[in-house]
Amino acid sequence: MIRFIFFVSYMALVSLPFLSSAQQKVIRGTVKDAVSGKVLQGSTLRLLSSGETTKSDRQGNFEIQRRLQDSILYVEHVGYQTKELTLDDKSFWEVGLYLDNRIIDEVIVSTGYQQIPKERATGSFEVIDNGLFNRQVSTDVISRLDGIASAVLFDKRKPSNQLFSVRGLSTLTTSNDVDRPLIVLDNFPFEGDLNTINPNDIENVVVLKDAAASSIWGARAGNGVLVITTKKGQYQQPVKISFNSNLTISEKPDLFYEQTLSAQDFIAIERDLFEKGFYDADINNTRNRPVISPVVELLARERSGEINRETVEKQLVTWGKRDVRNDMLRHVYQNAWNRQYALNLSAGSERINYTASLGYDKNNAEVVGNSYRRLSVRNQVDFKPIDKLDIGVGIYYVNAMNETSNGDQIRPSSTKTTLYPYASLIDEQGRHLPIEKDIRASYADTAGGGQLLNWLYRPLDEIALADNSNRSKSLLLNMNVGYIFNDWIRGELRYQYESATQHARNHYSEETYFTRNLINRFTQIGPSGPIYNLPKGGVLDVGSSEMNAHSLRMQLNLDKDLFGTHRITSIMGAEVRQKENTLFNSRAFGYDDDVFTATPVDLISTFPVYGGLSGNASLPGVANPFAGYLDRFVSVFLNANYGIADRYNISFSARKDMSNLFGVNSNNKGRPLWSFGFSWDITKERFWNLQLIDMLKLRTTYGISGNVNNALSANTTIQHFSPSPYLVNLTNLSYATVINPPNPELRWEKIGMFNMGLDFALLSNRISGSIELYRKKASDLLSLIPADITTGFSTLTRNSAILTNRGLDISVNVRLLDKPFRWNTNFLFSVNKNIVEKYLYTPNSLASLVGRGINITAKEGLPAYNVISYRWAGLDPDNGDPRGYLNGEVSKTYSQIVRTNDWNDLVVHGSATPESFGSIRNTFSYKGVSMSLNVTGRFGYYFRRNSISYGALYNNWVSHVDYNERWQQPGDELRTDIPSADYPVNNQRNTFYTSSEVLVERGDHIRLQDVNLNYQINNRINVFMYANNLGILWAANKHRRDPDYYNTLPRPRTYSLGFKIEL
């Protein structure tokens, strides 16, 4: 029936012109970009009354039959403002169109292999254009995508701000960055440090979301692909110079976000434990003399009669008023200052164009002594010696330096991971104070009777003494030659060389605690004075790494019109890539930075350790000084698009990758990957006459891409190591470890994705956007599986799992108000649900799935990152013990509960990563002023908040204010879920409580991410203000935890100010 209606309307439409009158006149003309003068092909010209339409051809020329009643001609081109011409008697029109900045969709998207007009694409592309990209302020490229790109989700649970996924997870492996999307810079995968790319050199970023878009990247496309395109010059363009600069200031981090106990409470706990004898072993330990806190030291001195009770009490009152975080905020943290300067220059004549840029960034981070500097220089020249030949040469050089003081990393010892709250870093006179470090301070202070170096650790001294830098230099050279064989075949040859060197240098001068401690440990006091087995002087750690990557690609591009309305565009080619990494580390002792000399040492022999603090030990040299990695790929690829009458597009791609996946037979190294797609632009049908709808395009694709993990092998592999000088060196023999048992069935991971999309534009483009549905099935996933330890391995890795993602991406742009006051709303919303469909191996006990969801715990039927807890049965009213369930019964047998294999004892909350997320960006503008606010939201996930763990409190000094709310007497169980303090500590009781369901919260929240205020003073000058990380507007949890940063400090607010001048 529907088909019939279509047919009738179609017939009616096509017969219309024949029915109308025959009075005609031909109008001819050309369509050009009004600014660049570039001719525009494929512009739609439509006469208002008769409805006659035509398109501009390759040279921008058009020809249209005007009827008598026609007086208005519309000229439309995607990405340009529509022009309305009132026709007079002129028969030749030169039409200049202006770019329409309000339309997000760029005309052309780059896949890294070719430029595709989005109009003709079947795949799913998300374009972040230059305007949107520059709305944020940052030193790097990647973090700018947060909250503005649909389907792109940043995982902020780990410290890096560059962890993101495109359309969810496609693998269960997270090591070696196997779960990261592929980053392509212009034409080739970018192998270096992403931080070295200067965002000011970037024109736009395209996210390739579905198989048709990404599968041209084959075995590396499984996690999605990001194509970053740099700015290019244009032919016949006057000289353009622009300069921009901005300054970003951040607040200090909110240390009080950490819910640690007050000094007074902490001291009370230590006194209690002291009475119970908890510290006796440490106090009486005259061997390794472990760290004990100042309070315990004080109490021990009181017990041995050195000081009286009164002194102790007085001292404890003073200490109880302290909070070391105030010292930290004042002396360790500062307001971060980031400065950015960028100069761009571009110009083009008929035969040559170029663009050049210079960028400089200088950041002083929140931690005193941490800083970053980057200098980037870029130059790209394209020229056409003859019409058919074009040659491009580009160079991109970045020099960066990172300095780190690690001033915020204060760890009293290997087990005492947090500083006691009553520590003081500085006294009233401004003298830097020592804290407990590694060995008991009372011993360190007096050991050696003055013959040793000072053994105390003053954190603030260390910040000043830090001399730790990492310099990186990266160079990107590219060359391309294109030759037009005829009007439809173009050949391309591209070569890229990428080189990145890093030079890390950490100089611990003799004044640093690190060096003093080492020297002292290896000092023996002989009759004639100290003997230094580890020479006096500094310790210098030098590490360097070098990465070299070569890529060569040969490609043919075909573009041919057939039978009048058909068109085939295709690329085919082959490429070879190689990436080589080498690393080198070394350490020198007795180093003198003034004269560049070091003392040779014996790294093999063992020496006594001062005071018998440990058994004899060898000097701590570098464990594995050398490493080298080599990745090689050979690929052939084909991509074809067949268009019929501008309405139907069929796409196909195929690719075969082969890599040096170690130990696999060559046959198994490759796996053909392919995609197929179809699109239909309904509005281009002749029968379409709904004026309300400007564009309606249906797309559907299916394809398979892959995922490579070169760290695995099918054969027994061993890894060689240099003699290990750490701990006590056994021998100077080099040795090897078997790292991989044989696995002859190893294969690549395979990701199949189905995508269905609808692009639309309504009401003269006032409303536009797209809706996409997808299903992604990742199979043959390598997953770590438990094994019988009798085999020698507790876990093995096998191609064993299947993971599916189902999702929805909606993006809608609405021009609510237009001129003079404009109001645009951009709405992004994504749903992504992943489920582990197949997971062959079951863990020893279901309890091993319990956790925070930070690591993948795969279980059939559950999301890969899930939050599972022990079921909670309340506190024991008698003694405040937490109670759970064992085999369905209320139980306190923690040792069994934490190994339970019964679902009745556990609670599955759900996903640990947001299952839906989105943003609403409102932009208001009036004349030159515009303001844009981005509100982001994340929904459908859970997180586990921290609480008190008595084991961690006693042994590691990790405290939590929940301690004060703990069960203390019968009846308390009615008001609290926090267990009573136990002694001796039962760690499994702690594990049970901290992993129980009472600590799990919903992560849903809405956040005001950022605000941008922009003033375009005139054509040349633009100033802006920008504020980021503004805060949470609503959160589902009532514990004031930021669900994105519940385990780390939230990122502080930042404020930026900047300008851009164009000449």
């Binding site: 004898g277 908890f278 072993a281 009486n284 330990n285 061997r287 075949i489 075909l558 057939l562 085919m572 080619g573 082959a574 006594p608 350790v609 440990s614 058994g615 004899n616 050398f626 490493a627 990695y629 080599l630 050979v634 052939v636 040096n660 996946l661 170690f662 130990g663 060559s666 190294k669 760290a711 092998s713 054969n715 027994t716 592999t717 061993i718 890894q719 060689h720 190591f721 290990s724 006590v728 023999l733 080099s734 040795y735 090897a736 470890t737 078997v738 048992p741 044989p742 438990p786 019988d788 330890i789 009798t790 085999t791 020698g792 391995f793 020893n844 040792s895 002694y983 500590v985 760690n987």
Partner: protein
Amino acid sequence: MKTFKFIQKGISAILISCLALSSLILTSCEKFLGAKPDKSLAIPTSLRDVRAILDSRTNNEGYPVSGAMAVDDYYLTPKDWAAITDVNARLNYIWDKDDSDEVDWRNSYRTIFNVNVVLDHLDKITFENPTERRIIEGNARFLRAFALYHLSQVFTEPLETDLEQDGLPVRTSADINLPTVRSSLKETYDFIIDELQLASELLPVDVGEYKVRPSKSAAYAMLARVYLAIEEYGSAAKFADLALGQNLVLMDYATLDSEQQNPFPLFNDEVVFHATTAWGATLMPTICKIDTSLYDLYDENDYRKASYFEMNEDGSVAFKGHYHGQSVGTLFIGLAADEVYLISAEANARLGNLHEAEIRMDEFLVKRYANPPNFTDLSKEELLQFIRLERRKQLLMRGDLRWSDLRRFNNGNNGQSFGLLRKLDSEEYRLPPKDLRYTFLIPQSVIQESGIVQNAR
């Protein structure tokens, strides 16, 4: 039509050039893609590779410690015991029937896997010198037997020849897909002994400074240790004497600097083969204390009194006589000359060769005492008693030797069975002779993954 033909021509031209291009690439592909991705990786293909696998220090460390932790060589104060965070260690100390240490099982079977990798690849390697192959093979077989024997002391019952007893899974291939099956206890010991005998034929007399590698004398000494544990005293004496024939050296304790934190250096002269146990929380020198009644057994002119012990500040006694040169909560479980002397003496005495036993004791004691005690004219039983006391005093805190001795004495063949007692405040814990808890439970995860039979409780 013309267009179509043109396309045909064009496409075939492209296809031909593509084919030519890809065949060019693909022929050189094999070599290009054969390169290894991590330069430190290798498939074991050379002498250097298998040598390096055997030299990994993991093959000399991490041997079972559960038995060593359960003996009466030391005690903990109730406070120190309560402060231990490792639950297994706490349970071990009070001989809880459910205690089982997964680490012990994992470490030793990992060593067995490493060794199996070497043995599996031996035939694929071309050795320039047949001796090299013999040494590698001997080294591998020795380690496999060494690991299996020490597992047996923790996870299997003491051998009783007239019973059908479960032994250990004996894995002889690195193929991880092979099932895990318990052999009989007799088969387990037969395997251990066969491997050691073969190793003793293959191994060289001298391994130079590398005491992490086994020598011929190590294989003999190990055979003596195994035969003693299963009470085949004739073979124990034979192999102990064979080992002693390989120039084993006794240090003169008079020359030791007993003031040192660790008077016995790593690879000291007595060490024949270096190996250590896994870390045991109860063995940390700060809390691990020696009973005064044990300490009092040492005579004042016994050099061991000063070189083995030191006084803690609270007056308790700590042990520092570790033969691996450090006090860190691990124990020396390797082979040393002192043990071989004592095996020879005990086994010979047991066989009635009292004269031989006395000679061994003479040689031994002169290196331990300023004035060795007189032990002439003792009856066989008295002499045995004397030797066992010296064994107790010499091999204190020496891996699982005390644990094996307790298991051996408990069967009553030596007329010396006795139970163990531990006190924590008012609680008393007892381990009576022949108790099932002289055998630890196999880790639950192994039972679950492999389905083998658990030990009796």
